[in-house]
């Protein structure tokens, strides 16, 4: 009973604390002109992403003997601090990712997914 009461109180506090919270305000606007180019993931250097001018691109991982031209195609777009990746499969499946860009330079791009998992790309 004691535990239940504590949990209930904690829940109520959480509701009071976070119920009115909005999403944090974006700090940067993504420069789309810096996106095109060939990048690789700093954690998995064999994973390449090629962003093409016009909003298309391809990603592949050479560690599994997948070469450029044999990878997965995607479309990309930016809005404010959001980088959206739309992957359209040949079987009709549609997979998308929204990333929040936290840092952008000419050769570095840092972003995180909706669960705040960070990733960093380096242009090559």
């Amino acid at each position: 009973m004691k535990n239940k009461t504590l949990i209930l109180l904690a829940a109520l506090m959480a509701l009071v604390t976070f119920a009115a919270c909005d999403k944090p305000v974006n700090s940067i606007n993504v420069n789309a002109d810096l996106i095109p180019g060939k990048w690789h993931d700093t954690e998995t250097p064999t994973e390449f992403w090629r962003f093409d001018i016009g909003g298309s691109g391809e990603t592949w991982d050479t560690s599994e003997d997948v070469q450029e031209g044999e990878g997965t195609n995607f479309n990309w777009s930016v809005l404010l601090d959001q980088l959206r990746i739309d992957l359209y499969g040949r079987m009709g499946q549609h997979v998308y990712y929204d990333y929040t860009v936290t840092y952008q330079s000419a050769d570095t791009l840092t972003f995180k997914d909706i669960y705040d998992n960070p990733r960093t790309f380096v242009k090559i």
């Binding site: 239940k4 949990i7 209930l8 904690a10 829940a11 109520l12 959480a14 509701l15 976070f18 119920a19 999403k23 994973e47 592949w60 991982d61 560690s63 599994e64 003997d65 997948v66 070469q67 044999e70 990878g71 997965t72 992957l87 499969g89 040949r90 079987m91 009709g92 499946q93 549609h94 997979v95 998308y96 990712y97 997914d113 669960y115 998992n117």
Partner: protein
Amino acid sequence: MKKGWKIALISVGSLLALIIVGVAVLCWLLFTPARLTSIVNSLAKDYILCENHFGNVSLSLFKTWPDVGVQIDDVVLINPYQVPADDALAACAIHDDTLARVKSLTVGLDLKAFLKDRSIVVHQVRFDDTRANLYTAPDGWSNLDIFPPSTDTEEPDNQETQLPDVVQLEKISINNLSAQYCNLPQRMLAEVGGLDMDIKGSLLHSVIDADLKAQVSKLLVDMRDSTGNSSLCAHANDLELRAEGQGSTDTLQGRLRLSMPSGMVSAGQQTFTTEAMLASRRDLLTLDVPFHANVDKMRFTLDDASLCLTDYEIGVQGHVAMAHDDAPMNVDLRLYADRWQVGDLIAILPSFITQSLSGMKVDGKASLSGHVHGVVAEGRMPLVDADVTLEKGSFSAPKMLPEPLRAINAKLSANLNLSSDTAFSGISKVDIQQLDARLGRSSVSLTGTVDDLMGDMLVDARLKGNLNLPDLRPFLPDTMPLALAGTSRIDLTAKSRLSALTAVDLNKIRLGGNMHFKDLDVRWDSIHASSPQLSAAVALPTKRHSRTVAELIGLHVVGGKLNVDMENTGMTAQVSHPDIRVGIPNILDNRVPLAAAFNIGASKLNVYMDSMIVYSDTLRLNGSVRNDTTQDNILKQWNPVADIEVHRAVLSMSNASEAVRMPWFKAAYRPESTRIEHADVLWGVSDYHLDGTLYGLEDWLSHKAMLHGDINFTSQYADVDQLMSILSGMGSDEDTLHQQRIEDNVPKEANPFIVPKDVRVKLNTNITRCIAFGNDLSELGGSLTVNDGVAVLEQIGFTCKAARMQLTGVYESPRVNNLFVGLDFHLLDIQIDELLDMIPTIDTLVPMLKAFKGQANFHLAAECNLDAFYQPKMSTLLGAAAINGKDLVVMDNQTVATMAKLLQFKNWREKDNNIGIDSISVEAQVFRKEIMVYPFLLNLHNYQLCIAGQHNLAKNCTYHLELLKSPLPLRLAVDVKGNLSKPRIELGDIRYGEMYIPDKSDAFQQRTLELKNLVRKALEANVR
């Protein structure tokens, strides 16, 4: 005899002798040579116009006894003439103005007639050592015109010249006569030398008794044309002629004999006599003609006459009736020649006759009997019937016949009508009663007729024989890679006009017959065919008619067994009871393309090729081919149209554990399509039935276009893995695949399915049960399309033990080590636990699913690249999945209990203590190693949860569970983090409280729901 008589006879004899001597002395005194010479010369001036001279003239009693003889010595007649200076023939003649020079001319006169009635009757004439030169000028003048013209003014009657009733000239002798006769109008020059001739005879009251003997040491006749070239030249040496005849003019009988030991005859540039003829021990030419004659009717009968050219004799019997009164000339002669040695005869014949036999050698014994009968007149020739036989003949012509023909025995009869007058002309023909010959170990026999010999010959022949096939090989070109063995019994008939044969006009030639082969063995280059017994029938024209080929030549082959080896391909075929009918058009007509119509049947067919063996009980192949040399593809070159039917066929391969059986196969090939009407295939425990159509096979083989097809594939049980092993790599270049394997370091053990290329074939499947990738599937229905390296399973519906399933799949094999697989997979009414058993990967995608029990629908669209071992390359994994279910039960496990406790669940279990869920609808997406589950609602009795989150293949997760509806006024949420096997569960932030409340949800939440909805609709869109 008494002495008195003896004395008396002596006395009378002495008296007579005294009288004779007295008369002789008296004649000598009365007719002295000088007086007689003077008389003759004075008379000659009156009767001979040219210059003449008569030497000494004397009487003789003993030389011409019993006639009184007048002998004139040195008779000379001179009649000068001029020859044209530019005449070549005249230039060849000896120009001599002396017409004749006779050393001695003796005339025997009948003394009794002279004494009785003072008439001069000549009984004998004798010339000794005579030289004569006769000349006829171009204008017809002759130096023989030395007598004055006749003073007889009576008109000559038109009656034919009749022999005088009494001719008393008993003997004419010519000794050593030499003469030259030059006739320029007729362009003839003749010479005779050393002529001795005696003619004895008499014609007394129509009774003839004549005997002629002549010998000529030299005889020359030279006839030339206007240009001086010799048109006919003949000379003979030591010619002997003897003729005798007795009887009345209507029953005259006699004999003519001529022998010419040597001589020469030429016409133009051709010489008829040869050195071989002259070298013969026999005379060059001999004639022996016994005859009967009716001079009045000009009819002559020959009795066993003979004409011999050296050793070759022709016998003649019959009669010749010369034209007489209004009757035309008529002959009825029988000719016969017995057993001529043909080879020797040809050897002595002049070259211009035998030149057509150059390079040939002909021999044998030939016999001839002929019958020449009928009228000889203008436009009419007698009929000729001839029988010719040849025995033990031989014929060799190395250029034409590699092997000589021998043992030639022939018997022919001919009927010739040589008349040019159409009123009397008729058919000439030859009847070949027998013509046998042997060639090597072969023998042939020819019979038949040749009609219309003088016109367009009509040949109607039958050829029978026993052939030793190797004997035929030398007749074929050396460059032809053909070897023959075996024997053949042939029986062929042919009928054709010569014009058709010459022109090889197959439309007008009739040919038929049979050939029976035994131990046949034929090798053509690397193709070897053999048969113990085989029969072939040929027909020209054939009675068969097909719609595709204008058949002219028909061939029908039947036999017991036929073996064919194709060494280049390593293929061996054994055919039992072949029944092959082939019809081809006129192969010599360039306007007609080479084509053939065929009907091929066999009771059994075995084919061995490398490691493959094909057996078939019955084979039936009907169709046709038509050649088009402008095409490069073999099918387009031959344009086959064929219907094939095979029963009880078996295909076994050494590298396959089980044979493929084909109980029934029936197909129709056409240039535009191939229709598989019926194909039953049994392979191991699998059974397949195919029917359908393939299109564009010809272009596909020439790599110009893809092979298209639409095939119905029905099976009670199918081993899909087995099928894939067969079809793998079809249409791909072996070298390219091998190179790929090296470059990608693909182990030998990896043998992925390489999708056939250059084909677009749709298989409409209806499979009752099958095994695929280790799964037992049933009731498969849908289509499988193989499209140029891409295999597409289109909405294959099937049932497994867990659910109804529907699959659309794409499989590509661009590289051996980089395969692509895409799935649109639907499981309907599935038991969740069965689903997880069948596809364990689903637990990876939706790990919370194993907490549920019951039926659900599962939809998945995903794609991934695979390596050569079919292992997924997770970096290429891209998929979306949706699961929905109703009335599920939550499996009671520790994690669920923990979460329920944190969320203050109470009374959430059913009465039976199960945790019931009204419905669930989960959408998830996967990319590479990350799986994201879209927010979904979970209704648990009085509670409603929203669940969302993500995890990766390492099962590290971040999930959020939020209580949206509860009996308590609480909004609680928990986060599940860490590894799914041992997650950390803690209270979390409220995120989705307004997501499902219209007008309150934010843009992010709306978009999330839109995407979730899109994913579901896209996934469910293809469910049938």
